[in-house]
């Protein structure tokens, strides 16, 4: 194929995808504010997306906080600024790493799971069956998952922030000889309300994006088992890309 034509075709395909996802997002938001509401489905998704993601988010945050403390200490020692470790660790985790790392870990687990589940339902005509049973698949399947994502990500990020800061604290006190009470005081003093709030707003946006991508790719899966597998992969990749893009936009807005 002519390279210019190939490039054009790629750009058109990308624009078509962006349009389709935007329409899907708007349909989801519209369905979310109109009854009937499936509260039982929402509770189930809150448990599956939230509670069951705690271990992976907690572990990731612990190691991230520990590694961050070591790196900040190493860099800070070049400028006799080692004492700023607790300040930078807490700011970095609360404003940036907590939301982003938690969202990425949850997207790997949740986006792919949602895409596979809904894609399998599509392949086995269960979504068609919902229509014939007078039930809107958007309201029954999609809306509860997306709302659950928006609710649980901020809660998971709160946990990630605490565990991440704890990871930094543990390394700093045990390995870098920081005074525990000084470390804790510096951690708390540097944080402002907006630091925490901006991180939680990011988390809610990331939660929307990662669940939306899982739902979109699953709902539009085609081609049997291979299509379902492809949908799961596409969900994780697109969720990750959107999380990074949204993070940049939101960080620009919040500084």
């Amino acid at each position: 194929m002519n390279p210019v034509r190939a490039l054009g075709a790629g750009v058109l395909a990308l624009l078509q995808s962006i349009g389709a996802v935007t329409v899907f997002a708007l349909e989801t938001l519209y369905a979310a504010v109109r009854p009937p509401f499936f509260g039982g489905q929402l509770l189930q998704q809150l448990f599956r997306l939230g509670f069951l993601s705690l271990p992976v988010v907690g572990l990731t945050a612990l190691f991230t906080g520990a590694a961050l403390a070591l790196n900040i200490y190493t860099g800070g020692s070049r400028f006799n600024a080692e004492s700023f470790v607790p300040n930078i660790v807490s700011l970095g985790i609360v404003r940036e790493l907590g939301p982003v790392i938690a969202a990425l870990m949850v997207s790997g687990r949740v986006s792919s799971g949602i895409a596979a589940e809904i894609g399998a339902m599509r392949a086995t005509e269960q979504i068609d069956a919902l229509h014939t049973l007078a039930t809107d698949p958007m309201r029954y399947l999609i809306v509860p998952r997306v709302i659950a994502g928006v609710i649980v990500l901020p809660l998971l990020v709160i946990v990630a922030n605490l565990i991440g800061i704890l990871g930094g604290f543990a390394v700093s006190v045990q390995t870098l000889d920081f005074d525990p009470s000084v470390y804790i005081k510096n951690t708390i003093d540097i944080l402002e309300r907006w630091d925490v709030l901006s991180g939680l707003i990011k988390a809610a946006v990331f939660g929307f994006l990662l669940t939306l991508m899982g739902c979109y790719h699953g709902y539009n899966a085609e081609g049997g088992a291979q299509g379902v597998g492809q949908a799961a992969t596409n969900a994780v990749v697109s969720a990750a890309v959107l999380i990074f893009a949204a993070n940049f936009l939101l960080t620009s807005l919040f500084v």
Binding site: Q126, D128, A129, H131, T132, T135
Partner: protein, 244 residues
């Protein structure tokens, strides 16, 4: 209730699946649609269910046009559908699958819905102890019965069956065919089935239509199918290929 496909055309990209397709399913009668693979049989049913929107033409039920993906359309409440694979929801026990419409669309309370589900299971000769099992623990025949129970629990006026006996052994297939015939007569429903199984056709049909390349090749009562008014229909029903 009468179903009428009026000059319906459906395309998937450049491929024409239904080509100015017109057919009627008369009230209280069981129409079986036969035809080769890719002839357009499943698409025919899906246009009547509102799952596929025709590019042109329309499908009417009792004179009212079928709307695309409108779950709140009153007509949807009159319909029961048995999908080829059953399409039961894996995450729900059998009784909640059967009572799904009652619970979520009709907002019936759980006790009453469960009792209605049990009655439907009785009607399809499924043991009540399957009610709390998951679909993935059922045999093929039990799965089809459970799916049939879900189709009839709402006391429908219209029933659709998509390849109801595919994948079943001959004995189980005969059981399903007789259950379908019994339920259609019990509800005096208008039924539309698609099948490759000629034994199934002979059991459940009042009328037969053969589709070829997206259009009706022949239609008539079951009694006329084997009289070979159309040689192609005759060969299809007898399972005879064109090869000499």
């Amino acid at each position: 209730m009468k179903i009428a496909w009026k000059d319906v055309t459906v395309r998937f990209g450049p491929q024409i699946v239904l080509d100015h397709f017109s057919l009627e399913a008369h009230e209280g009668r069981s129409l079986v649609i036969i035809g080769g693979s890719g002839a357009g049989k499943s698409v025919t049913i899906k246009t009547a269910l509102g799952l596929i929107k025709p590019g042109s033409g329309k499908v009417e039920i009792d004179g009212r046009a079928v709307k695309h993906n409108r779950e709140d359309d009153p007509g949807v409440a009159q319909v029961g559908m048995l999908f080829q694979s059953g399409a039961l929801f894996d995450s729900l026990p059998v009784w909640k699958n059967v009572a799904f419409r009652l619970l979520h669309a009709e907002h019936m309370n759980a006790d009453e819905a469960r009792e209605r589900a049990m009655e439907a299971l009785d009607q399809v000769d499924l043991d009540r102890d399957t009610a709390d099992k998951r679909p993935n623990s059922l045999s093929g025949g039990m799965l089809k019965r459970a799916a049939l129970a879900r189709a009839i629990v709402g006391r429908p006026k219209i029933l659709f069956f998509d390849e109801p006996t595919t994948g079943l052994d001959p004995v189980t297939a005969d059981v399903i065919n007789k259950l379908i015939r019994r339920q259609v007569k019990h509800f005096n429903a208008t039924a539309v089935s698609i099948t490759h199984d000629m034994a199934s056709m002979r059991t459940i049909a009042d009328d037969v239509a053969m589709i070829k390349e997206g259009a009706v090749l022949w239609r008539g009562p079951l009694s006329n199918v084997e009289s070979c008014e159309n040689p192609e229909v005759c060969r299809f029903v007898r399972g005879e290929s064109d090869d000499a």
